[in-house]
């Protein structure tokens, strides 16, 4: 099963991390990523740039492009992992380990259906 683990966090809090804190969090996350990769479970993982650099295309009758992220929320979508795991429990375990490395915020676990099967991440074609 492919799952996306979507990383939500309060951008203001992440920006308030000192450079040392930021490095420490990234190092701990890398350890979890390495473990998942070794188990053949890790697909692409992405850190999204700040929502202030985002634009949104609103699909109204005449689609308009506006500044900013789609949703103005307390916590923002800051990154995502694609994991290839046995089942939902397995995906939740991965998220739990990531959460221990990076407290605060939340991970949303969403199953993925792949449009283009021969480009399935982490698996053989």
């Amino acid at each position: 099963m492919l799952y996306a683990i979507l990383c939500y966090h309060d951008e203001d809090v992440v920006w308030a991390w000192s450079p040392e804190e930021d490095r420490a969090v990234m190092a701990r996350l890398r350890a979890v990523q390495d473990k998942l990769a070794k188990a053949g479970k890790l697909g692409p993982s992405l850190r999204l740039l700040p929502t202030t650099s985002a634009m949104t295309l609103r699909k109204s009758e005449e689609p308009i492009v506006i500044d900013g992220p789609y949703a103005e929320t307390k916590e923002q979508l800051l990154g995502l992992y694609v994991v290839d795991v046995a089942d939902l429990d397995d995906a939740a375990d991965a998220a739990r380990e990531l959460a221990a490395a990076n407290p605060g915020g939340a991970y949303e676990i969403r199953p993925i259906s792949v449009f283009n099967k021969d480009r399935r991440p982490g698996g053989t074609p």
């Binding site: 920006w15 420490a24 740039l49 700040p50 202030t52 650099s53 634009m55 500044d67 900013g68 407290p103």
Partner: protein, 417 residues
């Protein structure tokens, strides 16, 4: 990250909004700051025990406001001391407050707080120090270290700044559109000053953190004013300049010029964000000086090698900047681009009229010397370089010019054999 790390990040993140709101209630900077400190102390006690509140900022504002009101009551001794249980029944009170915070008031709270720090009565150094103390929450010791002054001197600087503000009239009404735009532009200028304080400091960790802080404040402003192209430009400009931080100094701490930098050390993440913001800003068709300067920085950032730089584009952008903000320094910068596009003679002609206004400016003589050198006018180049060395503000500036001189002497020496 330990729990206290998480709490301290949350407190830093909430600070501008919380103090901004408390300032609106109490209309006094000291009271607002003390109320916030009080709320933070209570958070450090209550959050590890009860878990973090759903909305930390709303919690801090509410607790801070209650604490300040209690302080007034205590001092008048008409009410008994409040119990600590005050903190436990917040959940119900939090929700309506959080809803109120989502309004536009919150945007004006932060803008007002920043605007107070850059009050026109305050000299630039006091503006920055005050913003770092009040908005960013840096300790006096940290700020003193960044400004290379003693803690006592910095304490005094901040106290003086606060005293001036207390005397000045601070507008608390919700600003109109024009007033808001004026405030925003004053705040943007202060944030850029803060950035430059760190950027020009050289290879010093404590000071380069000022750049990070300026970028954090700019992103905060941009989040509040998402449609403002000049705030996009300001943020982009700082991101793009800061992206070169790791490449700007050699092991001895000497400045490395843009064309000599190892571009693989440039921070791609900051460049991507900066370039995206420049592109976003352009769509608004409301150009301004920050956007143009950011666009110039983006041209440099996009060039993988110095020879890939689109100098004609940089020339055109400086020409635009000259129209918006005529200044001999801008013309001087444009001349450098012109020397690459149309040759050193055209560049020299361009800066000739600036000689009286830039007669005490290091970069003028450095550039003049370089153009003359390219034209083979060695004796005149030597005179210009000598003047530049005399005007150099740092040893590394002087050393850089000396290396030009040395190269020229070497090149002109008769070859042996």
């Amino acid at each position: 990250m330990t729990e206290t790390d998480w709490i301290s990040s949350a407190l830093i993140a909430a600070r501008p909004q919380a103090i901004g709101a408390l300032l609106r209630y109490f209309r006094d900077l000291d009271t607002a700051e003390e109320a916030y400190q009080d709320a933070c102390l209570r958070a450090l006690k209550a959050w590890p025990r009860n878990g973090p509140p759903r909305d930390p900022t709303a919690w801090l504002i509410l607790v801070g406001r209650n604490a300040a009101i209690d302080a007034v009551r205590r001092s008048s001794r008409t009410e008994p001391l409040p119990a600590d249980e005050l903190i436990s029944d917040l959940e119900e009170a939090e929700t309506p407050l959080a809803e109120r915070l989502d309004g536009s008031q919150y945007r004006d709270d932060i803008l007002r707080l920043l605007f107070i720090c850059c009050h026109p009565d305050l000299p630039a150094t006091q503006q920055i120090a005050l913003a770092l103390r009040i908005v960013s929450g840096l300790s006096v010791a940290q700020i003193a270290r960044a400004f290379l002054v003693s803690e006592a001197a910095m304490e005094q600087r901040i106290t003086r700044a606060k005293a001036r503000i207390a005397k000045a009239s601070v507008p608390f009404e919700t600003p109109g559109a024009v007033e808001r735009a004026e405030r925003l532009s004053a705040v943007a200028a202060m944030v850029y000053l803060l950035f430059n304080e760190g950027y020009t400091a050289g290879n010093d960790e404590a000071r380069s953190q000022l750049c990070d802080e300026a970028i954090r404040l700019a992103r905060l402003l941009l989040r509040l004013f998402q449609m403002e192209p000049e705030i996009m430009g300001l943020t982009a400009l700082m991101l793009l300049q800061h992206s070169r931080a790791a490449a700007r100094f050699d092991a001895a701490g000497e400045n490395i010029l843009l064309e000599d930098q190892d571009r693989s050390l440039w921070d791609d993440k900051l460049i991507a964000e900066g370039v995206a913001l420049v592109d976003k800003a352009v769509r608004h068709n409301r150009p301004g000086p920050y956007q143009v300067q950011a666009a110039i920085a983006a041209v440099h950032a996009r060039a993988l090698r110095p020879q890939d730089t689109d100098w004609a584009r940089i020339d055109a952008l400086y020409a635009a900047l000259e129209r918006m903000q005529p200044s001999p320094v801008v013309t001087l910068n444009r001349a450098v681009a012109v020397s690459k596009v149309r040759g050193p003679a055209a560049a020299l002609e361009m800066i000739e009229p600036l000689s009286s206004r830039l007669s005490g400016y290091f970069y003028y003589f450095g550039a003049r010397g370089a153009f003359l050198m390219q034209l083979g006018r060695r004796e005149e180049a030597r005179v210009a370089f000598a003047r530049a060395i005399a005007l150099a503000g740092t040893p590394s500036e002087a050393a850089h010019i000396r290396s030009h001189l040395d190269r020229m002497m070497r090149d002109s020496a008769p070859t042996a054999g």
